[in-house]
Point group: C2
Chain length 345, copies 2
């Protein structure tokens, strides 16, 4: 171990000399990448917010998109595995919906090429919203009289109340969920008092340890990729640490479960580090409760770095500085079904 650590330090020094400035620091842009065929409009955002918060499209009427991706919090549910209808547990930790539009693919395994595609998944997942059929879920939307005007305002054509349009609206809303003006962003923009000394130290350690090899770009989730093409990393890349067993890191095969290819074994989408302080517990399996520990696990399993507790704390302090401001939002009003209910069970 000591030998590896020493060897690593030599490599690290070389990295510092040759490539420390390869990754520039990027602030959060005002707008997220948006597909040409679904430009964001206020009408879509209004409708998408309503659909996002409406629990009536789950089998029990108790689970909405917001249940696991709570925009009033960090965009997730504070849980290791999310809980869907009838208290059933999902197999992975809910990723944050905040800044999710900066991901070029969706889900931990990247199986959805867009937010539009992603939005349809949980509705028919038996342990999430539990609807048997996406058209049946859409029938519940169609049966609510008040929704039609919102679809007609957001979309053209004679049959605006389609599954695809609902997904487009939800995606348009999600593209507005951007947190900007974090201490980090203000620091990069010239306000040198925006970060504490510890955070500046952590920023240097983040760079020196090579974290940006994966966590680069404005959302700290890797280089800009074409929409639909994911940026993945094998986790654990270095599997021979005690963390592998401690946090059960070889249980979930990652992207290989989707592609059935051994090359994708344990490959996961590199998640954004934006607002990471608000999204514990950490990793695809939510196995790590604490950000300091998550930093140590990442350093060891991804970079084979045994970093000190002090360094981990400093890096975690830097990560806290990536938390931007949550924009104020008006609560949506969900149209009623006057005099009746659409829930059957």
């Amino acid at each position: 171990m000591r030998h590896i650590f020493k060897k690593h330090n030599v490599i690290l020094a070389a990295l510092l000399l040759t490539s420390a400035n390869v990754y520039s620091w990027e602030t959060m842009p005002e707008n997220a990448p948006t597909p040409a065929d679904n430009p964001t409009t206020p009408e879509k955002v209004t409708l998408g917010k309503m659909l996002f918060f409406d629990p009536r499209f789950s089998s029990t009427g108790t689970v909405s998109c917001n249940s696991c991706h709570n925009v009033m919090e960090g965009g997730d549910d504070s849980r290791a595995f999310s809980m869907g209808v009838h208290g059933q547990l999902g197999g992975r930790s809910a990723p944050t919906v905040w800044n999710s539009a900066f991901h070029s693919v969706q889900f931990w395994d990247g199986r959805a090429a867009s937010l539009e595609e992603q939005a349809k998944g949980p509705v028919v997942n038996p342990v999430e919203m539990g609807m048997s059929d996406i058209e049946k879920a859409m029938d519940r939307v169609r049966i609510i009289p008040g929704y039609k005007a919102y679809f007609d305002a957001a979309f053209s054509g004679s049959n605006t109340m389609s599954v695809d349009n609902a997904a487009r609206a939800v995606a348009a809303y999600e593209r507005t969920l951007i947190t900007r003006n974090s201490p980090f962003d203000r620091y990069i923009n010239g306000d040198k008092k925006a970060l504490t000394e510890q955070q500046v130290r952590g920023m240097g350690l983040f760079q020196a340890n090579g974290c940006q090899a994966c966590h680069s770009g404005p959302a700290f989730n890797g280089p800009a990729m074409p929409a639909g093409t994911g940026f993945y990393s094998k986790f654990p890349t270095f599997a021979d640490s005690p963390y592998t067993e401690k946090y059960d890191l070889l249980k979930d095969k990652g992207r290989a479960d989707v592609t059935k290819s051994d090359a994708d074994l344990y490959q996961f989408r590199v998640p954004t580090l934006r607002n990471i302080a608000d999204t514990a517990p950490y990793f695809h399996n939510g196995s790590v409760r604490n950000l300091n520990e998550a930093v140590k696990v990442m350093a060891k399993t991804q970079l084979n770095n045994d970093i000190s507790d002090n360094d981990a704390v400093d890096i975690a302090a830097f990560l806290v500085s990536l938390s931007g401001e949550y924009p104020e939002m008006i609560m949506p009003r969900l149209p009623p079904t006057p005099g009746t209910t659409i829930l059957m069970d």
Copy 2:
């Protein structure tokens, strides 16, 4: 049956002649009754809204007050029986939180004397929020660093983060949940076009049938009572109709389960009819899906009136006119627990 019906019509005619104007129509006031020891302040409302929406005080982190009393909808959950942690079912249908401050007691059986007292109940109900102990729930609030400033702003004293203060804040928020300016209110205030002809007809039938014997006052839930004293009615009062079996009306013993007194058998708090169109399914057991049918059941079981389908439809149309405007609200922002989660399971 025919005999009873005839007899009833005679009684009804007498009622029309002698007491039709006993119950005046009252519009919705701007403010709800408020206890002297918990005046509503903006600071309490802000805090109360946060607590109301925060699911982290349920055992699983998935159920907040808003889960069953969804203020984005009609203040309930569209379900017959509410669903709490682990998908467990409660024994009664969630009453709407909208205009709940106009009730002098809370819960269907009136077992809470105030909104403050009510707020503590679901937290420790094993099939609702499922916390083992109210102080343990409060410990979760206390552990969230961002809450303290809100408690200190809302309350005085050295230890503001108490269960009672949390309940006071939630109650203060709930007292702002008032729907005003309904078509009915506008009609009473002089806008004779605010109601349709059918609604005016239904209004007359509502009065002529004697519905106001229970559903009087601005919230249509009975006469003004001292805080803590409930206004109850036996449901079914007339138990010898087919509805008793059809809707299982003798299963739930109502207030007798609380007081253990036979005098309280099948006694339930008279619910508000405000925004009733948005709160299907109906009754304490959510057994009736449709408002027209609910009107017929009430007329028969409470007044022994066999009203026609047409009359029921007209009365239901009038009830729709009691739906006031939902005030626009800013979504609360729930303070994070930076770098960790407070959920343990």
